[in-house]
Amino acid sequence: MDIQGFAIQGFVAVVIGIIAFAVLAPVVGCLLAGVDRVLSARMQGRVGPPLLQPYYDVRKLFEKEGVTVNGVQDAYVICALIFAIIAGGIFFSGGNLLMCVFVITLSSLFFIIAAYSSRSPYAELGAARETLQVMSYEPMVLLFSVAFYMATAALLPFGGWGTFDVSAVFALDAPVIVCIWPVFLGLMFILTIKLRKSPFDLSMSHHAHQEIVRGMTTEMSGSTLGLVEILHWCENVLFLGWIGLFFVWGGPVTLIVGVVAALAAYFLEILIDNNFARVKWQFMLKSAWAVALVAGGINLAVLAFL
């Protein structure tokens, strides 16, 4: 097949992936959120809500009266959701990992702008902190993509060039974790920031009784808040997909390993969420960058020069 044919094929695959992700990710994400609620309750010695509670919550949000502080916030939130879904579609259709990383950053930007647009002092503060959170985790995310490329270069049977294509994992002789486990640990560290879990829930938290009220979502209500919830479900699925990516190789059967690993990581995140108090931004920035520099830098250097 000629190059143009490949281009069209890749494009169609991504479109199908986006549609599939738009349908499936909210379902999976909703269940994950339900598991989070149940597990957190058990860790705190409570019974907790039913598994489908997040679904009931969001359904109720969509039934509420539409109220907003300005005419543009909804549009920004919808953009954020669209691009999160595109990013997920690119990833799960086996597309380009870097593209996925960039598009999910675009989604974060729209969410930040949505919060800024409200001009609520609390939302603005939350948005400023979210910007800082993005700056904190972004280096590690980029280094993760590069490390993936280098790992495929080392592990692909035909050798030579690596690839950013996620679909290449099925051709690997061994999962990429074997040569980039330091990067995996680094990614685990910043995953807590990306999921906005304690101790890094600076920009917003599930609890509205704190110093910045509910941070970024202070002025979002009704269906807008419902969309934000769905956005987070999609993000969670995508990020756990990144974790799973480390453990897949050879053929589709190994996807099970990836899913198990992702769920284990999710459990760990819930455990951390319930056991740590929030830190200050200085610590977040310094620690996240230090982790990226040490874990990412050393790992890349080893891959490049050894």
Binding site: D74, A75, G95, V103, A128
Partner: protein, 638 residues
């Protein structure tokens, strides 16, 4: 070839006319017509040579050589005159040193160094021509409206120097064409010097003490760069034996040791012109000039001449480690530190300046890597940076005249006060740093090229620099996006010449992003293939098209989606009874009125200039000194 000569001569002609004819109405007509013809001729030239490899034109003339020497002399005389008037010894001495070397090269060697093919066109030149011709001319048109406002803001009885201003702008365009068309490096050097002088005069336009001081800082640094260039010419004459740029590059690929010192000298010239650390201060100082000057210097001319030369030399860097490492590290350190410093700036123009320097750093680093992929990335960085940055400068200039400040903290609520302008500004900002816009695609390609060369240090620098880039752009966008109450719309009296240029840049930005795969196939890849004989292993076409679709989504959302919602509108929550939403006033516990205020984060103590700048200045200076020393040793060994 007639077209080339026309493009080099025509803007200069317009400059003379604008300078001589001092009538406002006539000037408006002249500038618009001149800009339109220049742009049309540039596009025509591009169409004639679309997708071309290297085409050399037979052109050599003793008259032209003599004219170049005369122009160089005039430049020096003007600089020396200013240096004497303002008692700046350093500028005067540097200018004199330069002219001595110029005359020595001219009379001792030049007649033996005939370049039969004085002019050339290739795909990189075509792209530069389009940038100069369309963006540069667009800025000249914008300046009409802006300078009218500017003159109105001047104190009563102030001298109207606008004829000089517009003349300089057009000479600038001519000089840029000379730089990108000349295969004869002596001619190129003349264009190089003219741009230095023009920007000196433009920076000093207001003749305030600060403007003069900054103009001299610019001239001192760029004269140093010019001396680097003329020394390279001297080395070409004594060692390499040619003044032809393309022969020089061929010899450089075949025999790196022979041209080592000349390449280092040229790289030094490029680095000074591209305002890389430790020379970043001249571009920051240039901010005192009227905004169209900044737009011109930053986007389509001056600094782009520096990176153009570096990208041209990329094949030499690929085979020659000393200049390659020097250029790569200088560029990447500049990118990192200037991105950090941009976080700490509240002045919009300074943020733009730091972002320009940072992006030039990235282009410089790509040129230093020198692989086909890196050159692909560098070329796209040049293109998208030119478009997005000119759009931003024009927006900031207009905002400054209407809200009376260039401080980002004063741009609160701009989305309501200047709704159209704020949308354009947001588009420009997004064009600078976020996927799927072209600038980020180019950064992506940069990352890929670094990865393929196993440049771990550069990858890490790029990762952290990009994170900082996100921070300073996102918080600026957030400031613009705020909406509260119904503030007065202050953009109704923006002049039509300003709107026309802003709209032009915005359309260019969107078109270039959507058509990125096409531009790659018709302009950038032909250049890469003509230089390296092969195309790079670039980003796959399907990803580029996904990016194009995403651009459309963003643009539609920004300009069509952000309307009024049908939902009931309520005030924001202020932990008390809200009194006035527009000012965020609320009733406090003593029943008085309190205002909620919020400022962006600038993190001066973490990313301040005082902490960052010295690191880069010292590191890069030592680096360049070491490179020069190594090159000298290399020459001694040869």
């Amino acid at each position: 070839m007639e077209m080339l000569l026309f493009l080099m001569a025509f803007p200069a002609l317009i400059a003379v006319l604008v300078y001589v004819i001092r009538n406002d109405a006539a000037r408006n007509v002249l500038v618009v017509a001149g800009a339109a013809v220049t742009a049309a001729a540039s596009i025509a030239l591009a169409c004639m040579h679309l997708g071309t490899g290297l085409v050399l034109f037979e052109c050599s003339s003793a008259v032209a050589d003599a004219a170049c020497t005369v122009v160089s002399c005039i430049c020096v005389i003007v600089i020396v005159a200013f240096a004497v008037r303002h008692a700046n010894a350093l500028a005067g001495v540097l200018a004199l040193v330069q002219i001595v070397v110029v005359l020595y090269v001219e009379f001792a060697f030049a007649h033996d160094m005939e370049v039969s093919h004085g002019l050339y066109v290739d795909s990189l030149t075509i792209m530069m021509v389009l940038i100069i011709g369309i963006i540069g001319s667009g800025i000249c048109v914008y300046a009409l409206g802006y300078m009218k406002d500017f003159q109105a803001h001047e104190p009563e009885g102030a001298k109207d120097r606008r004829p000089l201003f517009f003349a300089l702008m057009f000479i600038f365009l001519s000089a840029m064409y000379v730089i990108v068309f000349s295969n004869n490096m002596a001619w190129m050097f003349t264009g190089w010097e003219v741009t230095t002088l023009c920007s000196f005069l433009l920076i000093g336009y207001t003749r305030t003490e600060e403007a003069i001081r900054n103009a001299f800082r610019q001239i001192v640094m760029n004269l140093a760069g010019g001396i680097g260039f003329i020394l390279a010419l001297l080395l070409c004459a004594t060692q390499v034996g040619t003044f032809s740029l393309h022969e020089f590059i061929e010899i450089g690929i075949a025999n790196p040791a022979l041209v080592l010192l000349a390449v280092v000298c040229l790289a030094f010239a490029g680095i000074t012109k591209a305002a890389q650390m430790p020379f970043q201060t001249w571009l920051l100082g240039a901010m005192v000039a009227p905004t169209p000057t900044s737009a011109l210097l930053h986007s389509s001319t001056m600094v782009k001449a520096g990176v153009f030369l570096l990208v041209k030399l990329a094949p030499c860097f690929l085979v020659s480690p000393v200049p390659s490492v020097m250029v790569m590290l200088v560029g990447s350190i500049t990118f990192l530190l200037c991105s950090f410093m941009a976080i700490s700036q509240t002045n919009a123009k300074r943020v733009l300046a730091y972002s320009t320097i940072a992006n030039l750093g990235l282009i410089t680093a790509c040129a230093g890597v020198g692989t086909p992929e890196a050159v692909w990335a560098a070329t796209f960085l040049i293109l998208f940076h030119a478009i997005a940055k000119s759009l931003l400068f024009l927006c900031v200039g207009t905002a400054e005249h209407h809200i009376g400040s260039r401080d980002i903290e004063d741009m609160d609520l701009l989305f309501e006060r200047m709704p159209r302008l704020a949308r354009f500004m947001m588009l420009g900002i997004m064009g600078m740093f976020i996927a799927p816009f072209g600038m980020l695609v180019a950064k992506w390609a940069t990352l890929v090229s670094f990865v393929q060369m196993d440049q771990v240090a550069l990858i890490i620098i790029l990762a952290f620099g990009s994170a900082a880039t996100f921070m300073f752009w996102a918080k600026w966008m957030g400031k613009l996006a705020g909406i509260a109450g119904d503030p007065e719309n202050v953009e109704r009296d923006v002049t039509s010449s300003e709107w026309a240029s802003i709209l032009l840049m915005a359309i260019l930005l969107v078109a270039a992003c959507v058509l990125l795969p096409v531009i790659s196939a018709t302009m950038v890849e032909p250049y890469v293939i003509s230089v390296f004989g092969m195309a790079g292993q670039d980003i796959a076409a399907d990803n580029l098209w996904i990016g194009s679709v995403c651009v459309c989504v963003v643009v539609i959302a920004l300009f069509c989606g952000l309307g009024r919602s049908k939902k009931r509108t309520v005030g924001v929550y202020l932990s008390g009874v809200s009194r006035d939403d527009a000012t965020r006033a609320f009733q406090n516990s003593l029943s008085d009125e309190s205002l909620a205020t919020a400022r962006n984060w600038y993190m001066e103590d973490v990313f301040g200039e005082k902490r960052m700048a010295p690191v880069g200045v010292v590191f890069n200076s030592v680096l360049m000194a070491a490179a020069a020393l190594l090159a000298l040793c290399g020459v001694a060994l040869v």
